[in-house]
């Protein structure tokens, strides 16, 4: 090819180059947003809407009431309706929030929220549009007595909303309702909408959630906690977590007049003393204009910032669920006989605060053979890619045998156990945009393991106490049982009469053996046992129970109690055989 040909070619090729809209990009790469299969697509749409709804309510200090409905329109087509009692969105913004990818309020904020990327709900609108051609219908009430109703599509080439119809009607209250029509597949069981909402209800016990399934069946997840979780605050970046590129951008965009005020105003945890210290170590001037710094100077500044001894970033940007709420959430949905929860103090990774919480529910209405793990990132359940997730890795790295549990073939503990792990951060390092698994950074795995081990220790204590108590009952009957044989054998061995030996043995047993009931008392302070004692709902609600105890007269209470204890001990024994290592050793 001659040089001229190449030149013409180069120009021709260059002329074909153009800007690509982000909507075009995701249209072609929808699997990155979680729309790989029909089943997952339907779940993703509900997820995005519910996550947004919860975030909206919390940001306006409203206890969330969320209504989800899925209608089967046939031919793998579903209508999804999600309605919340949040603050609503003002009319002008509605088309952009739902009809433009990468539009949102939460993107650059350092604050823990569910959605972050500004793609979620508009991605759902995009998916619906691509698969059925139907526009999205949105109702928004901001409490001013009006409803703004809009039908919109996304102009993909421009990544702009395309309003098909709009109207303003009268209406009470506030909130958002979105209706989408899309291709999907409704399932139950693992990785279903129902499972997602159940797990959401466990980690968000302050929310009331209702689901109407395609067959008209309504499932209600009741509110168990009447207080909102601590509201997360926006924070400024921490000097330890900043990179050169970002620092340079901050420097050139800064409205601070001096380097000193730049450091003090635009970063968290930097006081005057620390700021001056950093500037001195970097060999710079405190009153230098930030935008005047050269790349070399910025590099020196960065090094000094990284090395400075500073308090960890403020943690009020995080919104932990809290020990009590975690336990309430587990109790209301699972009715376990034992719960424990751990809420770790925040840690910092890459300058971003994060914290780990663990909930653990054992036995009671939980009947399955092997433990289950519920993973959460910022209170949102993660249902896919369990194997690739840091939370799972940490869970598997815990040596559960040390806490008295056997290991099943899948590496999980063999026990009627549900463990929830909540990872909260202003920046969740997902392994992919479909937000299903957290990347396995060492710091994260370490922190999750510590939390799991704390909770596991609580479980171990409980199991061990329960086990010991069950011994007491056995003791007496064991000694009595063997006495019969011993009398016989000892008579032959010693050539003494059976009667004499029998009398001696009876005296021995009477004087030496404590009553087992005393030891059982130790257990009574445990939640589960008192529930048994009071014939409380958790136990009488057990599957397949005929609940005959509750109909008996209260005078028989003590017998009931003994029976319950016997049943409990029987249960513990059985479980010991099946699931637990022997504590006696």
């Amino acid at each position: 090819m001659s040089a001229l040909d190449v030149t013409q070619k180069a120009i021709a090729l260059s002329n074909e180059q153009r800007e690509i809209s982000v909507a075009e990009f995701f249209e072609k790469n929808r699997h990155l947003l979680g729309y790989n299969t029909l089943q997952k697509a339907l779940l993703t749409v509900v997820r995005e809407a519910v996550d947004n709804a919860l975030d909206a309510c919390e940001s306006a200090d409203i206890l969330p009431d969320i209504y989800v409905e899925v209608q089967d329109l046939g031919e793998q087509t579903y209508k999804v309706i999600v309605e919340d009692n949040g603050p609503g969105i003002k009319k002008e913004n509605v088309p952009y929030v739902f009809g433009k990818l990468l539009f949102g309020s939460k993107f650059m904020k350092l604050m823990q929220t569910r959605g972050q990327q500004g793609i979620g709900i508009s991605g759902a609108v995009l998916y619906a549009q691509l698969t059925t051609g139907k526009p999205a219908k949105i109702y928004s009430k901001i409490g001013d007595g009006k409803v703004y109703v809009v039908e919109l599509a996304i102009d993909i080439e421009k990544n702009q909303p395309d309003i098909l119809s709009e109207d303003v009607l009268d209406g009470h209250g506030h909130g958002i309702r979105i209706e989408l029509i899309l291709k999907g597949k409704y399932v139950r069981g693992k990785q279903s909408i129902l499972e997602y909402l159940k797990e959401t209800a466990i980690m968000n016990p302050h929310a009331e959630i209702r689901l109407v399934e395609p067959d008209g069946n309504m499932i209600r997840f009741e509110r168990a906690v009447n207080e909102l979780p601590v509201k997360p605050k926006e924070i400024k970046p921490h000097p330890h977590g900043i990179e050169l590129g970002v620092l340079m951008r901050m420097l050139s965009n800064s409205s601070s007049r001096t380097l000193l005020s730049f450091l003090m105003n635009e970063f968290s945890r930097v006081g005057k003393k620390s700021a001056l210290d950093i500037i001195a170590k970097a060999g710079l001037e405190a009153n230098a204009k930030p935008s005047s710094l050269t790349r070399l100077e910025a590099e020196k500044l960065l090094k000094a910032m990284h090395k400075a001894l500073l308090p960890a970033p403020p943690t009020d940007c995080l919104s932990p669920v809290g020990k009590e709420a975690i336990i309430q959430g587990l109790k209301k949905e699972l009715l376990p006989e034992f719960t424990a929860a751990v809420s770790r103090k925040p840690k910092v990774y890459r300058g971003f605060p994060f914290l780990v919480e663990v909930g653990l529910a054992y036995g009671g209405n939980i009947k399955q053979e092997n433990a289950k793990l519920y993973r959460y990132a910022n209170k949102v359940p993660l249902l896919y890619e369990q194997g690739a997730c840091a939370l799972t890795k940490a869970f598997l790295e815990v040596d559960w045998r040390r806490y008295g549990l056997k290991k099943a073939s899948n590496g999980f503990p063999e026990a009627p156990l549900i463990v929830s792990v909540h990872f909260a951060s202003v920046w969740v390092p997902y392994t992919s945009e479909s937000k299903e698994a957290i990347s396995s950074y060492d710091d994260i795995i370490k922190e999750v393991k510590l939390a799991l081990q704390d909770a596991a220790r609580e479980l171990q204590k409980y199991l061990s106490k329960l086990h010991k108590a069950s011994y007491s009952k056995e003791r007496k009957s064991k000694f009595e049982r063997y006495a019969v044989e011993i009398v016989e054998a000892l008579s032959i061995l010693s050539n003494e009469s059976k009667e004499k030996i029998q009398d001696l043995m009876t005296r021995l047993l009477k004087t030496h053996i404590k009553d087992y009931k005393e030891e059982i008392e130790k257990l009574q302070d445990k939640d589960y046992l008192s529930a048994v004692k009071q014939n409380d709902t958790p136990l009488s609600n057990q599957e397949d129970s005929n609940d005959h105890h509750s109909t008996q007269a209260s005078g028989q209470k003590k017998d009931d109690f003994e029976e319950e204890i016997d049943a409990l001990i029987e249960d513990v024994k059985k479980r010991k055989e099946l699931n637990l290592l022997d504590y006696a050793k």
Partner: protein
């Protein structure tokens, strides 16, 4: 110890417990410990022995109660067997004799033989007698031939020069009460690992030509064979030569005859033969007798591992055996005693054994 004395000893154990009960104390049995840390190799006697540690087994202890009961059951049943002069039984039969459902429960006295076996051993060490004295037997496998005349408990007179091709079977109990040696006219006892080799020597009347007893335990010897050799060695002061394969397993069998095994330390005192000598087959024999290459069997990883372990055993702590084990390791091949036929069928009887014995080519 005869049956009467054992019965008395058992009775006194029973009386002790009754005494404890009369004091309203938590009754216990005291049993010499058979765990590894109470076993030691006594260099002086060359035997594996039990130390002096004892354990107490209490009734009123949740984890010991059942064993306490079981021990009394075993002891009382043995007392009854001896008093009633019942036939000797296997320990499996004893187990069935003792096993029953405890009245008023769904629990058995014993669930498996694994529960009776260690308690039989407990009773053995408590009484300081062998289970054979308690008339409990293990299945013997061995046969012997040579100039030996025995009066059996049945009254039969057994002449081991007239036992034909099969040789005389070793009975399960070889205590004097059962197996009374009336006459013995041999110069030494030759213990042979494998039956096939013993069989060829028996057909060649090796025992007659060489005035010895030839015994095989058919591999790893059972209790009766070991006890009989012990008796021949010490009661009749006979030299004992052990002839095995040249491999870790053969050397181990030799050590079982000689010092006993760790698991049965108590039995070893009464059934080990520390004066036994190792005749072969050994590495020095390979050159000495010019063994053909085709008789070599390449050692496997597990053989090397065995050698490494055996080098650490207390009873192989002497120059000769350390060297022998090292040589075997270096040589890297095993040779079976059967392989001597590759020289000639008569080679073992006519060349190998006479040469080794005449020239005292033994290992300690």
């Amino acid at each position: 110890m005869d049956a009467k004395k054992i019965v008395e000893k058992l009775e006194s154990i029973g009386k002790d417990i009754v005494k404890q009960l009369e004091l309203n104390q938590n009754p216990y049995l005291e049993i010499p410990e058979r765990s590894l840390d109470n076993v030691y190799f006594d260099k002086e006697t060359g035997l594996i022995k039990l130390g002096s540690k004892k354990q107490k087994r209490y009734y009123l202890n949740l984890s010991q109660a059942k064993k306490f009961m079981q021990t009394l059951l075993v002891a009382s049943k043995i007392k009854w067997l001896l008093e009633e002069d019942k036939p000797s039984l296997s320990i499996r039969q004893l187990y069935y004799l003792l096993k029953h459902t405890i009245p008023g429960s769904k629990e058995n006295t014993f669930d498996t033989q694994d529960e009776t076996d260690p308690i039989v051993e407990d009773v053995e060490v408590m009484l300081d007698v062998l289970r054979e004295n308690l008339r409990l037997i293990a299945t013997p496998n061995g046969v012997l031939a040579g100039d030996l005349i025995v009066e059996d408990k049945t009254g039969d007179i057994l002449d081991y020069t007239k036992m034909g091709s099969a040789g005389g079977a070793i009975p399960p109990i070889v205590e004097d009460e059962y197996f009374h040696i009336k006459e013995i006219n041999v110069e030494y006892v030759l213990v042979i690992e494998k039956y096939a080799v013993w069989n060829v020597l028996n057909q060649q009347k090796f025992w007659k030509k060489n005035n010895c007893l030839i015994i095989t335990g058919k591999g790893q010897p059972a209790r009766a064979e070991r006890r009989l050799i012990h008796r021949l060695a010490y009661e009749y002061n006979l030299p004992v030569y052990v002839f095995t394969d040249m491999d870790p397993w053969g050397y181990y069998i030799y050590s079982v005859y000689k010092q006993g095994s760790i698991n049965l330390a108590f039995f070893s005192e009464k059934a080990g033969t520390p004066k036994a000598k190792f005749l072969g087959f050994q590495t020095a024999d390979v050159k000495e007798f010019d063994m053909p290459q085709s008789s070599f069997i390449k050692m496997k990883d597990i053989d090397y591992k065995r050698i490494k372990e055996m080098k650490k055993y207390a009873w192989f702590q002497n120059k000769e055996w350390q060297k022998e084990l090292t040589n075997l390791e270096k040589f890297g091949h095993k040779i079976e005693q059967d392989a001597l036929v590759s020289k000639s069928i008569e080679f073992t009887a006519e060349t190998y054994l006479p040469t080794k014995i005449e020239n005292k080519m033994f290992l300690p």
